[in-house]
């Protein structure tokens, strides 16, 4: 019955959304642990520039966004370690300048009809088969890389110097983390849009924090919260015709509040 009324676009949206929730859940915990929320914003906002450059160069927007996001992540990594500007100032400059340049360039493109609303807030229901392939393949690559370097990634999060002395190649592990986050952000653009990507990274991870006692547990719980939010957001959008991207984020935020209430009650009752 359900399958009969589910159209292709809805199935694509479900697969893309769940894949994204999986990967964002895994990388999101690192964003929360390393306090990289501003970093996520900076990449997300400036990846709008990727869309614009994609149109100018005639490259598929999805691919252009990946290239620009990864370049900006690497550039930021180099700049933060060299400049004396405090990193939240630097990231603030990057973030909003990227967004502004992207908007200016997009407005000057003649003869291209661009769904700006879709770029800013996401349009998961318009995920095409090409987008789907890109999301699934990028997602699998990110998951494999994260699994391989899991211990080293945890080590640098806990203590950078200690990790270095224990033989972890800190610089390269940091590069891997940055690139992975950039890849997730470029995957997320189509689904929740430039302005809400960071929410998808940090809200499920932050929700999972209150109920977990190990890094792996927090990661798994963060993935579950992400997937529930995607399903909830799609359902809300289906029944009440709400915008899908924002609905997903609202769902995740609701879970965050519920989990924290549960944790609070558990602490009060001491169980």
């Amino acid at each position: 019955m359900m399958v009969a009324i589910m159209d292709d676009f809805l199935i694509r949206a479900l697969i893309a959304g769940c894949m994204l929730a999986l990967v964002a859940g895994v990388l999101g915990v690192f964003v929360v642990w390393r306090r990289m929320a501003y970093f996520g914003d900076a990449i997300a906002h400036s990846s709008l520039l990727g869309v614009a450059l994609g149109f100018v160069a005639g490259v598929q927007p999805g691919v252009a966004v990946i290239l620009v996001a990864v370049s900006i992540a690497l550039l930021l990594q180099l700049m933060i370690s060299r400049l004396s500007l405090s990193s939240d100032t630097l990231l603030g400059i990057f973030s909003h300048t990227g967004l502004a340049i992207g908007l200016v360039v997009l407005s000057q493109l003649n003869g291209v009809r661009i769904d700006l609303h879709g770029l800013l807030f996401g349009d998961i229901l318009s995920v095409g088969i090409d987008d789907l392939y890109l999301i699934v393949i990028t997602g699998i690559i990110v998951l494999i890389i994260t699994a391989i370097f899991w211990n080293s990634l945890l080590s640098i999060v806990v203590h950078r110097d200690l990790a270095w002395i224990e033989g972890v190649p800190v610089f390269w592990i940091e590069v891997i983390l940055m690139v992975n986050i950039a890849l997730v952000i470029s995957m997320a653009m189509k689904v929740v849009g430039v302005l809400l990507i960071t929410a998808l990274l940090i809200v499920p991870a932050a929700a999972a924090r209150s109920l977990s006692s190990s890094p792996l547990q927090m990661t798994a719980l963060s993935v579950v919260v992400g997937i529930l939010s995607v399903l909830g957001g799609l359902a809300a959008s289906w029944h009440w015709d709400t915008p899908t991207g924002p609905s997903i984020v609202v769902c995740a935020a609701t879970v965050f509040v519920i989990f924290n209430l549960i944790a609070l009650i558990r602490r009060q009752l001491n169980i």
Partner: protein, 252 residues
């Protein structure tokens, strides 16, 4: 250099933003010895240690490590990421995977067996430092480098921790280099003292160092304060941190 030396620092100078942090420093770390680096705030103690560990590069001079030595490092009080849920056991295993019998032995040695399943975020200062020490010892180090090992530990815990470090050295025969700025507890349990104030003011056995004029110039106020807690007078001026304002540290 002596073939016995585990690690030697030769003529190391460090400048950061055109400020001299270390000037022409020499250190030799011998097997089985406890060397304590003391000095006032801003004397470059932590920088010297980071140079020894290879975490920072010197502007000039060399650091030579004996081939194949394993170093255990205990950082200054760890800023554990507040949103990271992690048990003590998992934190230690992150440093190195070892047989559980060996792990149990080291946990026993550092007295943390009962807190292995606690969350890192809930530990007290003393427990925290013992856990860090355990993670360093898991690597079976020839050289232990400890940055302010008793920072954030209550007074009764401080001497217990120094005693633990002395016991570990005795049992394992590893060399220990530690940075500290409290004098008395350190003097009791150390073989070599290196008195640092950007350059090496004096070095040697604790007794000889405490009698040297460079040491008294550098620590005069503190030694005086600890001996006469209620009434003490000064025949010299010093800054708010207790450092002597006139450059009293002359050496050839």
């Amino acid at each position: 250099m002596n073939t016995n030396t585990l690690l030697s620092v030769r003529k190391v100078s460090v400048q950061r933003n055109s400020r001299v942090i270390l000037d022409d420093v020499d250190v030799d770390v011998l097997p089985g010895k406890i060397t304590t680096i003391i000095g006032p705030n801003g004397a470059g103690k932590t920088t010297l240690m980071r140079i020894m560990l290879g975490l920072e590069k010197a502007n000039s001079g060399v650091v030579h490590k004996r081939r194949g030595i394993s170093i255990g490092y205990m950082p200054q009080k760890l800023q554990f990421p507040e949103h990271m849920p992690m048990s003590v056991k998992e934190f230690i295993r992150l440093g190195k995977r070892v047989k559980s019998s060996f792990m149990d032995a080291v946990c026993n040695e550092t007295g943390i067996t009962t807190i292995l399943h606690q969350q890192m975020a809930t530990l007290s200062g003393g427990e925290h430092q013992r856990v860090l020490l355990c993670r360093a010892l898991i690597r079976n180090p020839d050289l232990l480098i400890l940055d302010e090992p008793v920072q954030g530990v209550d007074v009764s815990g401080q001497s217990a921790l120094y005693q633990l470090i002395a016991d570990i050295r005795k049992r394992r025969g590893c060399a220990v280099v530690m940075v500290s700025h409290d004098l008395h507890l350190v003097m009791a349990a150390t073989d070599e003292v290196l008195c640092l104030n950007r350059h090496v003011c004096c070095a040697g056995h604790p007794q000889s160092v405490t009698r040297s004029s460079a040491y008294l110039d550098l620590f005069g106020p503190e030694v005086e304060r600890s001996m006469a807690l209620y009434t003490h007078h000064h025949d010299h001026r010093h800054g708010i941190h207790g450092d002597v304002i006139d450059d009293g540290c002359n050496h050839g």
